[in-house]
């Protein structure tokens, strides 16, 4: 990838075309079960009730997402960021057409972007049927996103994996996707908390998947809460925007709780060349995690319990986190680790720095020396994803 602007977003969201699944999955076999957009007038399917029909995603006949057709409020020409398109024809092509989207990257001064899913692909979206249905949906997603990479090497696609079949099936889909151009996988932080019957993250059952990713040299990604919901009941008095401010303002609590589980799980010790990227995390709190893990490890002599590597060393050796707006966290960059921090824009979600990413970066990195700045803005991403 050519570095022109000196900025790679390590967390952006690719909206796939509405026909992604219907054009790739067998109509004869799956019929109406295929993920698709459908018109609905049911007010249960709308966060803001409207008398006009809206379009919603349906997977195996069940509606997914009540907010709108696509999560892309930053490109809706609404300075208040309250607008979600309610029909596909309202969705700006800049979010789903890879050629068009390059213009948005240029406008925002971004060289490339690591692509996480957008609608309708959420943590449990493809659990709405059996393993065969899940795999067909997952493969259609991975195939469609791999085409973005063929459109431009400025896209760094991440594959999703199937959970309902054997672990070999997940490893095989990973290999297939990487061969097609994917540069990592995105997964749930603790599958057994998302769907009953799935194995706990700490179970050695997952080892073949970890081994596959280590051998292929592709990182495993957790995005924000990665499917884990720990929350205080939301107050009914919040407006949608207030809820959208408050919810994410507490969100890192969840990551700060499940990432230590990775540290104490033994996975990183068993797979010392495996890389783990936590996206949409922010970095200012990471020192909490490192210090508290080290503190408890020392207080309780956890090396006697098989945790032989100091938690903060494990982190520095194998993990990365992303930032997008903060300053205090940047001041702590040497405590966190200069090799462990990457930048993200979160395009096109509401928290995104688009289209002012340059200004945000200037504000965050004021006073940071040029070589360090380059590492955080693109150098670490180039190394992590092998973009040379």
């Amino acid at each position: 990838m050519k570095i022109q602007y000196g900025l790679i977003s390590c967390d952006s969201h690719a909206q796939l075309h509405k026909d992604t699944w219907t054009s790739r999955m067998s109509k004869a076999k799956w019929g109406d079960k295929m993920p698709q957009l459908r018109e609905t007038t049911d007010k249960e399917h709308m966060i803001r009730a409207s008398d006009k029909p809206v379009e919603r995603w349906f997977v195996n006949g069940k509606v997914v997402g009540e907010r709108g057709t696509v999560n892309c409020p930053t490109v809706m020409s609404d300075p208040l960021r309250k607008t979600f398109p309610q029909r596909w024809d309202e969705v700006p092509s800049v979010v789903y057409d890879p050629a068009e989207r390059l213009k948005a990257l240029d406008r925002d001064g971004v060289d490339g972007e690591v692509l996480f899913p957008n609608d309708p692909v959420q943590s449990a979206t493809f659990f709405q049927g059996d393993a065969e249905f899940e795999l067909a949906c997952v493969q259609a997603y991975n195939d469609a996103l791999a085409e973005w990479r063929q459109a431009s090497d400025r896209y760094i696609p991440l594959a999703i994996i199937p959970y309902l079949d054997t672990i070999e099936a997940a490893a095989e889909e990973t290999r297939r996707a990487v061969k097609k151009g994917h540069r990592g996988i995105v997964m749930l932080a603790e599958p057994s908390m998302v769907k009953k019957g799935l194995k706990h993250f700490n179970d050695p059952w997952w080892d073949p998947l970890w081994a596959t990713c280590q051998d292929l040299g592709v990182p495993i990604h957790w995005h924000a809460g990665a499917g884990i919901a720990l929350r205080v009941p939301r107050w009914k008095g919040y407006t949608p925007n207030q809820g959208q401010a408050m919810g994410p303002a507490g969100g890192f609590s969840v990551q700060a709780q499940f990432i230590p589980n990775l540290i104490f799980s033994g996975v990183l010790d068993r797979f010392p060349r495996l890389r783990w990227v936590c996206a949409e995390t922010g970095i200012g709190w990471v020192t909490y995690m490192l210090e508290t893990c080290d503190h408890e490890w020392e207080r309780r002599h956890l090396w006697t319990q098989g945790i032989v590597t100091r938690p903060s060393e494990l982190f520095k050796r194998q993990m990365s986190m992303n930032f997008w707006y903060e300053r205090a966290g940047i001041e702590l960059r040497h405590v966190i680790g200069m090799d462990n921090i990457m930048w993200e824009s979160d395009f096109p979600h509401s928290t995104s720095t688009f289209p002012e990413s340059k200004q945000f970066v200037e504000r965050c990195l004021k006073g940071v020396p040029e070589p360090e700045r380059n590492k955080l803005c693109y150098g670490n991403a180039v190394r992590t994803y092998g973009l040379n």
């Binding site: 706990h200 107050w235 925007n241 303002a249 507490g250 700060a256 709780q257 909490y288």
Partner: protein, 378 residues
């Protein structure tokens, strides 16, 4: 205020002894529903309240004072006296260089939540009052170096308010309130104006409201069943302080601080390490969601700096970012006698954490902020 060491520990826990409630509540009226210690079939002892075992991994919260920190005492006879005897506790404070100790409960809940789970408000009130009376009679009376804080019944709200008034009149200096009453039993959300009389009373009496971490495991990531007890309790000690982020985030948007601008709030057992990030994140979200157009006058970080406090005990990075959080908003503690406590090496922990912090600022965090909140100068 008399200082010998220069440190007010803003978050420690008393250990309630087996007669706290049995001695103060009517056996005729409450029978076995009174909180008491009960021998289990396996020979261990547990606290039982209204027929249910309370959520402690032993019969006390005493890890730091045990020969092995990973082991909580399983029988009352194993509980170290320095956790439950005021006179011996003073020695433990001297050993660790602590002038004053702000007291939170253990059996009544780290966050004062145990009796909030009871379905019977009359029993709840009786248990709460016995605790509040005991803490003044045995600890408050023993030494001015103890700073007692009351617990409260959660409903009806008139009972909450009158217990706060009664307890403060008796000498309590702070109000320990579970931050998510709606997760304990069928109660209104904490943001509802129905709680306004509580905020108004605390504001008028000028006592801080204290939200301690660990109200409910529902906001903590559960430890893997395959972990050894040592790793499992480490995981709990890691997830508990940062679970408070969910509580703080709600509080910054809940409008309670706007309605009660002189109310003082303490979030205890949080650490300081994530404070700067939380304020930056809340402000960023506020701005990205354009909440200035929705009738909010002040940024979350401004409200926080005006009224909120967080408490550290081991971390160093919180102090590196102290100017982002606000020097007036930081407190320090030993967290004695929880296993995570820095006792009896708190001096060394403080030297490490405050390395490079100028003397004046150090004193502000270790002494002045707590002295101001608890009126120790008057």
């Amino acid at each position: 205020m008399q200082l010998k060491y220069g440190f007010i520990s803003a978050d420690d826990h008393v250990q309630e002894h087996p007669e706290v409630w049995t001695k103060r509540m009517s056996k005729a009226k409450w029978g076995d529903r009174i909180p008491h210690v009960e021998r289990q079939a396996d020979g261990t002892e547990r606290w039982v309240v209204d027929g249910k075992k309370i959520d402690l991994s032993g019969v006390a919260l005493a890890g730091a004072a045990m020969p092995d920190r990973a082991q909580e005492p399983q029988r009352w006879e194993e509980v170290p006296r320095i956790t439950y005897t005021p006179r011996e506790r003073l020695t433990a404070m001297d050993v660790d260089g602590v002038d004053y100790s702000v007291l939170y409960p253990s059996v009544a809940g780290r966050a004062g939540e145990t009796f909030g789970r009871l379905a019977d408000p009359e029993l709840e009130l009786a248990c709460v009052q016995a605790y509040n009376d005991w803490l003044i009679e045995e600890w408050g009376a023993a030494s001015p170096r103890f700073i007692p804080q009351c617990i409260v019944p959660l409903a009806p709200i008139e009972a909450t308010v009158s217990e706060i008034k009664r307890a403060v009149a008796k000498g309590h200096r702070g109000v320990v309130l579970p931050s998510v009453p709606m997760m304990l039993r069928e109660l209104p959300h904490i943001n509802e104006p129905v709680y306004d009389p509580v905020w108004a009373t605390c504001q008028d009496l000028d006592v801080p409201v204290c939200f301690h971490s660990g109200v409910t495991r529902e906001i903590q990531f559960p430890p893997y069943a395959g972990f050894s007890p040592e790793i499992a309790s480490a995981m709990e000690a890691i997830t508990r302080p940062v679970s408070a982020v969910l509580v703080v985030a709600n509080f910054l948007f809940a409008r309670i601080l706007e309605r009660f601008p002189k109310l003082k709030v303490i979030f205890a057992e949080t650490s300081l390490a994530w404070g700067a990030y939380e304020l930056e994140l809340a402000d960023h979200q506020f701005e990205r969601q354009r909440l200035q157009t929705e009738g909010y006058d002040l940024l979350p970080s401004v409200l926080f700096k005006r009224q909120c406090h967080i408490v550290g005990w081991f971390d160093t990075t919180g102090l590196k970012t102290r100017h982002h959080i606000g020097l007036d908003n930081l407190l320090w503690s030993t967290n004695f006698p929880q296993a995570t406590s820095t006792w009896p090496e708190s001096r060394r922990a403080i030297a490490r954490s405050f390395d490079g912090v100028p003397e004046k600022e150090r004193r502000q965090v270790l002494v002045d902020n707590a002295a101001r909140l608890y009126h120790l100068n008057s």
